[in-house]
């Protein structure tokens, strides 16, 4: 059956591409085997070309090749990482060809902005991560899989929710209100990655990146410094992540099928007291507050009687969690000849999370086609469609509620068997509602590549990135409790992102030793986000609108016709850019690059419409100098440095306009409402970015690595809040005059091959980054100026971005159990005051990094990846409510409390209102270091065991290769944090919140751990 399938597929594809296939001319058949001179292993994918012709083949999995060639012909053997060999056709067949490895570290091809370079020529700081390292992990989105794989790239994975987005920071954070995320570019298209398209609905920021299929990724290049990211001008300040998808290869159609099957559960369950204990604690608080007798019903949540409450003990955690299943199928094919190459891939999969009813389904197809019309003209066409179906839950009805206000004393059902509605009821919610995001994303582009004369390359491309996103919500009649019945709602969002660019690249060889490479280009991009100004709804529905599209269309048309709703553009941003880059190489060891970009944007005010971003960088391959040549110790040593200006313009468009609304009346006369103070001077924020790095390969390239130092100073920060309220507005976009934020750091990456033998390979490696972040200047902004949205983090002068500004908790007075605080001067006081707040912690770590091991023996591979974070703090914003007074669940570790005079306890006496603690007016202000924790952790991020089936076993099958593997993610975590998981990315209110508040938790769903079995077949 499998054989038939393969044959059918082959026939179909051959039929499709028959017209494009070039058939070789039959001559004498020459065969041979190509091996690595170092270990004798066969080399796969070596191109064998008959010199002077277009006839070419590639070696197969055993290194073998067969080519038609005349007896006196010459064959050219080429492969990346190896020196090209020419050999005359030998009468001895099979021919034995041993290829000598070049310095792979230097010859690796790296994707850069608007081109590629050999690693040796690269003058910027770029990390390359191959696609196979991204796709193995059961991460919620591809960017999460970057964690631990690139020095200087801190990835805080999103929560355990399906499709959740990670916070990615490249060399720290220098922005305040503007987005601090890197620019994501897929196959040259700067794509939409806005995490706030849907705000934080349901307790999650929708992550558009989850629609990128990790299985289609060939490589990811992370551009970190000005030398690398400067060519992206006003969008390069936070670094750039270039995603390159797979393309066709020369050779017969080859198929790859992967099936992943796995299980998901939570990394750590937060522990709370049960119902009986809860009521005992309520009673204890009642007595602590000076009362006698039994606590009255009025102080028991939901008006329950003491007896009823004490006898109810619902395990709500159990009701909302499960063991989730992962099942994913990927099928891809690549095929090609000299004229035509294709890569086609499809994916169908569903990944459940550990939260009931929460899962992410992916259906995607990608076609990447390359056609060579002539030596001068090539066309590349990319087309990808991805449907991501996120079956969501509102955390506030489920996983957050069970950690907050939904108590064990709350029953699931009333005595009559109907659902209890005393508080949130996840069982009712799961059964009586639906919540789904359907994201259809189309990514496509066409590139014309033309070489009109020798050394001149012209490229013109047109690309699109369309995202059609529908959020469906449905509530049954029982849930709405409305005579009109159930309600089905849909919130559509349309994102259209078109970009066009043109580049001209000219290679000018001054002489044998010196050459220039000139690049000039122009680019325009327009991105438009639209929605309807509200939901499209229909009453009387017993199913969501995605199950009844006719009703959706009818409702939409009705609402549009009667003006209940209108389609509106909520953001329309444009860029028009010009850029140029000059690369100079001398003696193949001195490299110099200068680049500049001029960006105009609809985001910039009329007085600052265009920004200019110049950079310069250089590299020196010391190992090619005479004094180091033929050195047994040093194989590769490259010094590189860069300096430049890069910008950040990650804000919505048109914020510089004064805005007025004129759609209201007062007493039947028109009203004009100003809603925005304009600012024609609004512009990008600028980063002055310096980088110095050393790439090295030592001990016969057994020890390779890189060490880098960088210093980034961000000025003219884009700022939205911090206005005096007496201006009449709380927010207005402007550049912070005098603002200055420093990110300075060191990164070290090391890989060491312990054993490299024919059947055994052992290596260890890792990276560590230290980023020092300090706000050097904030102008006249006050201490509370720059808050992180929901969270108690601040930006303040002299401290890092995301500082915990809290009252210091000293401990408990053993005599009365009341909390003791420290005032600003460090004096003890029992009266709480916000005036006592100091900069007490920070969300940014001191160090972050990873280490990995790899052992390969024969056909078995065993890999581990450990990631770690050292230093920094977690602030638990929900802990302040997890007390009996607020009627929330009580975390078990908070039970270390004062109960009677003389007790030495960690936490103060329980009370039914924190206002009984002197100075506190509300629970909302009960923020202190009492709930500030060490954020350090280490986790076994990835562990995998793979087994490649021996060829012998596959001989009677259609498969050329078969591999099975087991991959575990987040299986072990070591942390001092007493809450749930120490890796925290909660839902954020806005970019500023996101910049400042990773590591702030508020009932955030804990991370997931997974165990995935994978089967990979090649045929």
């Amino acid at each position: 059956m499998k054989l038939r399938l393969k044959q059918i597929l082959k026939v179909c594809l051959m039929l499709i591409f028959a017209g494009l296939t070039v058939t070789g001319h039959a001559q004498t058949s020459v065969s041979g085997v190509v091996t690595d001179s170092k270990d004798g292993k066969p080399l796969v994918g070596v191109t064998v070309t008959l010199k002077g012709t277009k006839t070419a083949v590639t070696t197969n999995a055993t290194g073998a090749f067969t080519i038609n060639a005349p007896a006196n012909g010459t064959l050219i053997f080429s492969s990346i990482g190896f020196t090209v060999i020419q050999k005359e056709v030998s009468s001895k067949t099979p021919m034995q060809v041993r290829m000598i490895a070049t310095n792979q570290q230097l010859d690796e091809v790296v994707v850069i902005g608007y081109g590629t370079q050999k690693r040796k020529e690269v003058t910027g700081a770029i990390v390359k991560v191959s696609g196979d390292k991204i796709s193995t992990l059961a991460a919620p989105s591809f960017e999460a899989a970057l964690q631990g794989k690139a020095a200087g790239v801190q990835v805080v994975q999103g929560s355990g929710l399906a499709g959740s987005g990670s916070v990615v920071r490249i060399r720290g954070i220098g922005s305040i209100s503007a987005g601090g995320d890197p620019l994501y570019v897929v196959d040259g298209i700067p794509i939409t990655s806005d995490q706030f398209l849907r705000g934080d609905g349901g307790g999650m920021n929708q992550n558009p990146l989850s629609a990128i299929n990790p299985n289609e990724i060939e490589s990811i290049e992370v551009l970190k410094d000005a030398g690398a990211a400067g060519i992206y001008g006003s969008r390069g300040a936070n670094g750039v992540i270039l995603v390159t998808t797979k393309r066709g290869k020369i050779g017969k159609p080859k198929f790859n099928y992967t099936n992943k099957l796995g299980f998901v559960t939570y990394t750590q369950k937060p522990e709370f007291v049960n119902g009986t204990e809860y009521m005992q604690l309520k009673q204890e608080a009642w007595q602590n507050d000076g009362n006698v007798g039994q606590i009255p019903s009025s102080l028991i949540p939901s008006g329950l009687s003491f007896a009823t409450a004490s006898s109810t003990n619902t395990d709500w955690w159990k009701e909302v969690t499960r063991t989730g299943l992962i099942n994913e199928h990927n099928l891809s094919m690549h095929y090609g000849n000299k004229k035509f190459k294709s890569f086609i891939a499809g994916t169908f999969g569903k990944s459940e999370t550990y939260i009931k009813r929460n899962s992410f389904q992916r259906q995607s197809i990608r076609t990447n086609l390359d056609y060579t019309f002539s030596n001068k003209l090539k066309v590349f066409v990319n087309a990808a469609y991805n449907r991501g179906i996120n079956d969501r839950i509102s955390i506030w009805e489920t996983i957050a509620a069970v950690q907050g206000w939904l108590l064990p004393i709350h029953p699931i059902y009333k005595t009559d068997g109907s659902y209890s509605t005393l508080s949130a009821n996840p069982v009712r919610y799961f059964n009586e509602t639906k919540y789904r995001n359907t994201d259809d994303r189309y990514l496509g582009g066409i590139i014309l590549d033309y070489n009109p004369i020798s050394n001149l390359n012209l490229k013109a491309s047109a690309s699109m990135d369309y995202l059609f996103s529908f959020e469906d919500q449905w509530e049954s009649k029982d849930f709405t409790n409305d005579a009109r019945g159930g309600i089905a709602k849909r919130y559509p969002i349309w994102v259209k992102n078109n970009s066009y660019n043109f580049t001209a690249n000219y290679l000018y060889k001054l002489n044998d030793k010196n050459k220039f490479n000139f690049l000039v280009g122009a680019e325009t991009q327009e991105s438009e986000v639209s929605n309807t100004n509200g939901d499209i709804y229909a009453w009387g529905q017993d199913a969501p609108l995605y199950k009844n599209k006719a009703i959706y269309k009818d409702s939409l048309n009705k609402f549009l016709n009667d003006n209940t709703r209108k389609k509106q553009v909520v953001d329309n941003s444009t860029f028009a850019s010009f850029f140029a880059r000059i690369n100079f190489a001398s003696n193949d060891k001195y490299f110099l690059q200068v680049s500049a970009r001029r960006d105009g944007s609809s985001k910039f005010g009329t007085n600052n419409k265009y920004g200019f971003f110049p950079t310069a960088s250089a590299a020196w391959v010391l190992s090619d100098e005479k004094f180091l040549k033929n050195n047994n110790f040093i194989n590769n040593l490259k010094l590189r440095t860069s300096y430049g200006l890069v910008g950040n313009s990650n804000i919505a468009t048109g914020k510089y306009y004064y805005g007025y609304g004129n759609n209201r009346n007062y007493n039947n006369t028109p009203v004009l409402d100003p809603y925005n103070i304009g600012n024609p001077d609004l512009k990008w924020e600028t980063v002055r970015n310096f980088d110095l790095g050393l790439d090295f390969g030592l001990l016969n390239n057994k020890l390779t690595g890189e060490i880098s130092y960088y210093r980034k100073v961000t000025v003219d920060q884009l700022l939205e809040p911090g206005l005096g309220a007496s201006s009449g507005f709380q927010k207005s976009w402007r550049n912070l005059e005098g603002g200055k934020i420093l990110n300075e750091g060191v990164e070290l990456t090391l890989n060491y091959i312990l054993v490299k033998k024919q059947q055994l390979y052992v290596s260890v490696g890792g990276n560590i980054s230290k980023n020092y972040n300090e706000v050097l200047n904030l102008g006249s902004i006050g201490a509370d100026a720059l808050q992180g949205g929901f969270n108690d983090t601040r930006i303040a002068e002299g401290y890092p971005v995301g500082t915990n500004f809290l009252v210091r908790y000293h401990g408990v007075d053993p005599t009365d159990g009341l909390p003791i605080w420290l005032d600003k001067n460090g004096n003890q006081t029992k009266t709480f005051s916000l005036d006592h707040r100091v900069m007490a912690g920070k969300v940014l770590p001191n160090f972050s990094g990873a280490f990995n091991t790899e052992i390969a023996y024969k056909t078995v591979e065993f890999k581990t990846l450990w990631t770690f974070v050292s230093g920094g703090n977690i602030y638990d914003g929900s802990a302040k409510y997890q007390n009996v007074g607020n009627n929330w669940n009580i975390r078990r570790d908070l039970l270390d409390r004062w109960t009677k005079p003389g007790d030495v306890a960690k936490y103060p006496r329980l009370t039914n209102s924190v206002t009984n603690y002197p100075g506190l007016g509300t629970n909302d202000n009960y923020n202190s270091t009492m709930f500030l924790y060490d954020a350090s952790f280490m986790r076994l991020r990835e562990i995998s065991l793979a087994y490649k089936l021996p060829k012998g076993l596959l001989q009677k099958t259609p498969f050329s290769n078969a591999k099975i593997s087991l991959v575990g993610m987040n299986l072990l975590t070591f942390s001092k944090y007493p809450g749930a998981d120490p890796e925290i990315t909660r839902d954020f209110q806005n970019s500023q919140d996101r910049n400042m508040s990773p590591n702030i938790t508020f009932l955030t769903p804990t991370q997931a751990k997974s165990f995935v079995f994978s089967l990979n077949l090649n045929f």
């Binding site: 043109f502 325009t524 909520v570 007025y660 006369t669 100003p674």
Partner: protein
């Protein structure tokens, strides 16, 4: 083919390299830009209309101002208040009280609009310019006054009122906030009111827009708050004497859909357009269930001790057993009186007692004024004051009547502070507050929102707490 390709490349080049100003200008959809929005007299008038809409419908007198003052005062039941309202009620408001911040910003947003009107006054015809500017200045003044009453201590708190007041905003800009003294603040308010009086019409029959009587009524309110009784008496008298406003002789709520003839300035109620007073209904009304704001037992007893007082019916203890709520705002929608004639009578009556020594004739007028209110409350004259009562008796009676008459209207807090700051010791009651706080304790004024401090690190915040 080659030509096509070259053509395409050239096109791509041209398309991407032309400087396209329009392409880079993308104003937010639905937004009218200032250059288009403010170019005619009608536009300026529309901006002014918006100020009136905000006064009673969106901000301030829609109930935000009144309910905030009630949280700080002594009439509400504290038991069920939580969050920001509890914080205010405990008189421990902080920079993070977002309700207070929204109110503060909302009022200053009206000030911004008035300043914009004054900046753009050249767009207005000569005939209308004085009136529109005067209306803007009137609104600007009353906004400053209401902010000053909540966010700074009462006049009389310090010698020469040198204690800190609020930021005076006379331009639509983002300049950092800077607190003036209370003296400067009140001087500004009075000067602006007086300046606006000149160019306003004497009487607007619809009472929806500022006229001379509105200015005088507010001057009476401002002077009264300053314990400047002569001026308060004088301006209240001018309003009462204008005869444009009918004192309701039959007790009824002032909060009805049809409105009250007592209003000197009000916000109209037009279903489908605007229904002012929303915050009052949201927190006080018991039409749809037990309201959030309930009345405490102490003031209920005060009401109940006045047998025969029709106003006792305002406090409903029956509908929701165990709870007392104020049913003044039970109408599903109503016109929003911003200032009315009853308050003028109350001001004049009390001021009359205060100035009786220097102006003996005022005493009789004051007694008559308060008797109007008493008689209406009881439906007869049995509880009327005798014409022979002493000034002190008049003053005490008026203070008591005022507390009852204006319950739930946000007035009580200001009387606690004003009477505490009274310049004459014998008439000063420092702990009028039924919860025992002294009138000048720090927590009796709201803390400024953090935004205010944010824009100016040197901005001096209020001292917090220490009342209860």
């Amino acid at each position: 083919m080659k030509k096509i390709i070259i053509g395409l490349l050239i096109f791509a080049n041209v398309a991407t390299t032309i400087s396209c100003k329009k392409f880079l200008e993308k104003p937010p959809e639905g937004s009218v830009q200032e250059a288009d929005a403010l170019k005619t007299e009608a536009d300026v008038q529309a901006l002014l209309n918006g100020c009136y809409l905000l006064l009673g419908n969106d901000q301030m007198y829609n109930g935000k101002l009144q309910t905030t003052a009630e949280q700080l005062a002594d009439h509400l039941s504290s038991n069920n208040l939580g969050g920001k309202q509890q914080e205010n009620n405990l008189r421990r408001s902080t920079i993070f009280n977002t309700d207070n911040a929204d109110l503060f910003t909302g009022i200053y947003n009206i000030v911004y609009r008035t300043n914009k009107i004054i900046e753009k006054i050249e767009l207005v015809s000569a005939a209308n310019k004085p009136r529109i500017e005067a209306e803007a200045r009137f609104i600007r003044a009353i906004c400053h006054f209401e902010i000053a009453r909540l966010w700074s201590h009462n006049p009389g708190y310090s010698v020469n009122n040198s204690h800190l007041g609020i930021t005076i905003k006379t331009a639509a800009n983002l300049l950092p906030p800077n607190r003036a003294t209370v003296k400067e603040t009140y001087d500004f308010i009075i000067a602006e009111l007086k300046a606006s009086e000149t160019n306003l019409p004497t009487f607007n029959a619809n009472r929806l827009y500022a006229d001379k009587n509105c200015v005088r009524a507010f001057l009476a309110r401002v002077y009264f708050q300053m314990n400047d009784f002569s001026n308060a008496y004088s301006y209240a008298t001018q309003v009462i004497n204008s005869t444009n406003y009918t004192f309701n002789t039959v007790l009824a709520t002032r909060y009805t859909a049809l409105g009250t003839t007592e209003s000197i300035l009000k916000t109209s109620n037009i279903q489908g357009q605007h229904t002012p007073g929303g915050k009052l209904r949201e927190w006080f009304s018991g039409r749809g269930g037990l309201p959030y704001f309930r009345i405490n037992d102490v003031i209920y007893s005060v009401f109940n001790s006045n047998v025969g007082d029709g106003r006792n019916a305002w406090l409903d203890k029956v509908k929701y057993p165990g709870n007392t709520y104020l049913n003044k705002y039970d109408s599903s929608n109503f016109e929003m009186p911003i200032i009315g004639i009853t308050e003028m009578y109350l001001i004049r009556a009390e001021a009359a007692g205060e100035i009786a020594v220097s102006t003996p004739a005022a005493l009789t007028i004051g007694i008559a004024d308060i008797n109007k209110i008493i008689e209406r409350a009881y439906g007869n004259n049995t509880k009327n004051l005798a014409l022979t009562v002493s000034p002190d008796m008049l003053i005490n009676t008026v203070r008591n009547q005022r507390e009852i008459e204006m319950i739930g209207e946000g007035d009580r807090l200001y009387q606690i502070k004003r009477i505490g700051a009274h310049p004459i010791a014998s008439r000063r009651v420092e702990r009028l507050d039924r919860r025992g706080s002294i009138w000048n304790c720090p927590g009796f004024i709201l803390q400024f929102p953090d935004y205010e401090k944010n824009a100016n690190a040197a901005f001096q915040l209020n001292v917090e707490g220490s009342c209860l």
